[in-house]
């Protein structure tokens, strides 16, 4: 029984952790490289979530402006495989635009301005979604099959018995995406520039590298990851205009605190630590789950202010 619970906690924690990690990586590279605090990161999750739902299936609208002008059916009905390609691309484009028109004018402004403008943007995105599609909740866009592989329904696992099959795929897909991101950051020239930028962007400029172009790409990459997290999220949770703030923003920042700003490994680790913490607390004492999450973050801040994987501060 104990073993069964432990395995379930790990499995559930991995799913939640995968989403947290995807969110955290995006946020941490944007903060690390550009020192830009992006409170609209949750809005990117929201955009990815809705985009994902509309790519995966056709949805009937019963509220909102679109419905009032007679557009009651939206969506492409292309399935999850198509969404895995289209949603990140869409997130990438949104990220490019956001970097160019929202972030760039604020790079040299105080953090408070950055927080205000991005929080404002998050609210605008949420309200626009609500205006267009209404406040309705849509059911989870859980795929029955992807590329011909049946992924719906439960599967018999050793130790834990029946388990939702799709949840295992979520972990698998997220791990692949996280792995690819890690490789890009660790093994490519672009990644080197990003990493160098998180350490000392001025020196990178002095070396003659056009870091501004990298900035756009980093921002867009972070946005694509957040959108992908949204896609994963809506594949097993209901979709509504609140998901950006309620499910994405806070966890992303907690991951940042635990993992350390600018560290991709930290974000991955932080995401899974927090995911498993939530899953374990849910079983042990559900009413404490949220509090313990913050306690973990506070503990990290106390003992390692730079986060578990943040490098010690230079030049303070």
């Amino acid at each position: 029984m104990v073993l069964e619970t432990a395995v379930e906690v790990v499995l559930n924690g991995l799913q939640q952790g995968a989403i947290f990690a995807l969110l955290g990586i995006g946020l941490t590279i944007i903060l690390g490289t550009m020192k830009f605090l992006n409170l609209a990161h949750g809005a990117l999750y929201l955009i990815g979530g809705y985009a994902g739902m509309y790519v995966i299936r056709e949805t009937t609208l019963s509220t909102g402006y679109l419905e009032s002008i007679g557009v009651t059916t939206v969506g492409l009905g292309l399935g999850f495989a198509a969404a895995m390609v289209l949603v990140p691309i869409f997130g990438f484009v949104v990220g490019l635009l956001m970097e160019r028109y929202v972030a760039e004018p604020f790079y040299d402004r105080p953090e408070t301005d950055q927080l205000l403008v991005t929080f404002g943007l998050a609210l605008i995105v949420q309200e626009v979604v609500k205006f267009l599609m209404g406040g309705s909740t849509f059911q989870p866009a859980t795929p029955e099959q992807v590329l011909g592989i049946s992924v719906g329904g439960p599967i018999e696992l050793p130790i834990v018995g029946n388990y939702p099959q799709w949840r295992l795929y979520i972990v698998l897909i997220a791990l692949v995406v996280i792995g690819l991101t890690y490789l890009v950051i660790e093994k490519t020239d672009f990644g080197l520039v990003v990493q160098a930028g998180t350490q000392d962007s001025e020196m990178v400029r002095l070396l003659g590298i056009k870091i501004n172009r990298s900035y756009s790409l980093v921002f867009a990459m972070g946005a694509a990851l957040a959108a992908f997290a949204g896609l994963i999220g809506v594949s097993f949770q209901t979709v509504s205009p609140q998901i950006g703030t309620e499910q994405a923003l806070i966890p992303a920042f907690l991951v940042l605190v635990v993992g350390g700003a600018g560290s991709v490994v930290g974000a991955i680790f932080g995401g899974f630590v927090l995911g498993i913490t939530i899953a374990a607390m849910t079983v042990l004492a559900s009413q404490w789950a949220q509090i313990v999450l913050y306690a973990v973050a506070a503990g990290v801040l106390l003992f390692r202010p730079e986060g578990l994987f943040g490098s010690a501060e230079v030049g303070e």
């Binding site: 690390g32 020192k35 406040g135 309705s136 029946n162 209901t238 350390g260 700003a261 600018g262 789950a289």
Partner: protein
């Protein structure tokens, strides 16, 4: 040389800001009490002028009665406060409630719908005054709801507040209304406490409660699934979920002869129930999901996805159409109770559905009917009383018998302000049996009111102390 690494301060600031965002919960971001474009001004019924009769008839006897709450109503308009969740877990219910409220306002001012069928109502406003309204967002949160109601009372001079899609909200707001001596008409609240331990003189509830859900549901599920079963409950961890859990335990044990293995609280607004669901023990025959709104729209599909429906029966004690829509792939065959259904073959139901369809191109959910009927009931009571003076309106409603709200005969009991009325037991339809996306639930049984309820000193009512009228 500028330090280009994020410092600890950046990170802490960012987290603090994110935390603040979380705390704000976006609650304050929607304008509470915006005028909904009805009257051009801020729904302010001329509270500032002293000449009393703004030419629109008299104030319903302000000469006879002293000032109390927002009485007397000055000028030729009267303001109702529609306080509904426009964000948070129950926001979808709130959206449909607003549709019901706006329709009621329109009918009260211009005729149509039940105004044409009820003798008490004229279609010329209420006591000759044009009805205006202010809307607020409760954000499915008691504190936010109280603030929003408070604004409506002090700033907009609302004579009546109505709304609530969460019992936590309804209870918080009705307490405030009792203090302020402004009447509250409960919309969607199903906790036993609303008209039980937390009941107040200034609030009335037409909706049934968790206790009646237990009474209506237990015999039906016993006949469907048999006796001697083990059940396991998850419940939303606030007043509604707690009383709902207790009532299910009571009636499934006493009436159905089942035994409870355990019941587990889940925080309101949980979006991922997988950890709770994977904890359901193997010897459970029935899983009871005491969730509502978004919570149910998440927990039910996730239970199906985990294959729980293959090894046990699932029950969602309190259904509604909006939740059923959001979980439409998962509801087939699942039992629950509902306040009302738009397909009932009943004259008041059909005339309401007709005018609602005409206005919004979709059938109403029961949240919309509750909103509509509670506004109409209040207006009719004011007309019968001939004044807006709250104690008189309240006395007019107490022990009032009516049969014109779509559910046959109903009694608004004076001792606890709980309506005694029929309750519908429903079952989710199979996708192939649905005529439209709104046709999701089958009414299995309209449990007559005589088979439900409890004496004035029994069940939830045993703990009810209504408090003062304000004219003692």
């Amino acid at each position: 040389m500028e330090d280009s690494r994020p410092t600890r301060r950046d990170v802490v600031k960012g987290s603090a800001a994110a935390g603040a965002v979380g705390l704000a919960g976006l609650a304050g971001c929607t304008q509470g009490g915006q005028n909904d474009g009805g009257g051009g001004d801020d729904g302010n019924g001329g509270g500032g002028d002293d000449d009393g009769n703004g030419g629109g008839g008299d104030d319903g006897g302000s000469t006879e009665y002293p000032s109390l709450g927002n009485f007397p109503v000055e000028g030729d308009t009267v303001t109702f406060g529609f306080n509904v969740p426009q964000s948070g877990s129950y926001s979808q219910e709130g959206e449909d409630e607003l549709r019901g409220y706006d329709l009621a306002k329109q009918h009260l001012n211009n005729g149509g719908g039940w105004v044409d069928q009820w003798d008490d109502l004229s279609g010329d406003g209420v006591l000759g005054k044009t009805v205006e309204s202010v809307n607020g967002d409760t954000a499915t949160d008691p504190d936010t709801a109280r603030q929003s109601a408070s604004r409506m009372i002090s700033r907009d001079d609302a004579i009546m507040i109505t709304g609530g899609s969460s019992s936590g909200v309804a209870i918080a707001v009705q307490e405030l209304c009792q203090e302020e001596k402004v009447q509250f008409q409960c919309c969607l609240t199903h906790s036993n406490d609303t008209t039980g331990s937390a009941c107040v003189r200034y609030s009335f509830r037409e909706m049934f409660n968790a206790y009646m859900t237990g009474q209506a549901l237990a015999p039906v599920v016993r006949d469907a699934y048999g006796e001697d079963l083990n059940f396991y409950q998850l419940y939303a961890d606030y007043t509604w979920g707690q009383t709902q859990q207790a009532s299910m335990e009571q009636f499934f044990t006493d009436v159905a002869g089942w035994s409870q293995i355990d019941s587990v609280p889940t925080p309101l607004g949980t979006s991922d129930y997988s950890s709770y669901l994977s904890d359901v023990p193997d010897d459970a025959d029935v899983l009871v999901l005491n969730h509502y709104g978004l919570d149910a729209a998440n927990s039910l599909p996730q239970a199906i996805e985990a294959g729980l429906d293959e090894r046990l029966e699932i029950i969602v004690p309190l259904y509604n159409r909006l939740m059923a829509q959001a979980a439409s792939d998962s509801i087939e065959g699942i039992f629950g109770t509902a306040d009302w259904n738009w397909k009932l073959d009943e004259e008041y139901t059909q005339s309401f559905v007709e005018s609602f369809q005409e206005e919004y191109d979709q059938p109403p959910s029961y949240a919309a009917r509750l909103a509509y009927t509670q506004t109409m009931q209040y207006a009719a009571a004011v007309e019968r009383a001939g004044t807006f003076y709250p104690p008189e309106v309240i006395r007019e409603m107490e022990d009032y018998e009516f049969d014109n709200a779509g559910l046959g005969g109903e009694l608004m009991r004076g001792s606890d302000h709980q309506a005694f009325r029929d309750v519908l037991v429903v079952q989710g339809k199979a996708p192939g049996d649905r005529d439209s996306e709104f046709d999701l639930l089958n009414v299995v049984n309209q449990t007559p009111r005589d088979d439900l309820g409890y004496g004035p000193d029994e069940g939830p009512a045993a703990e009810c102390e209504l408090g003062e009228y304000g004219d003692e």
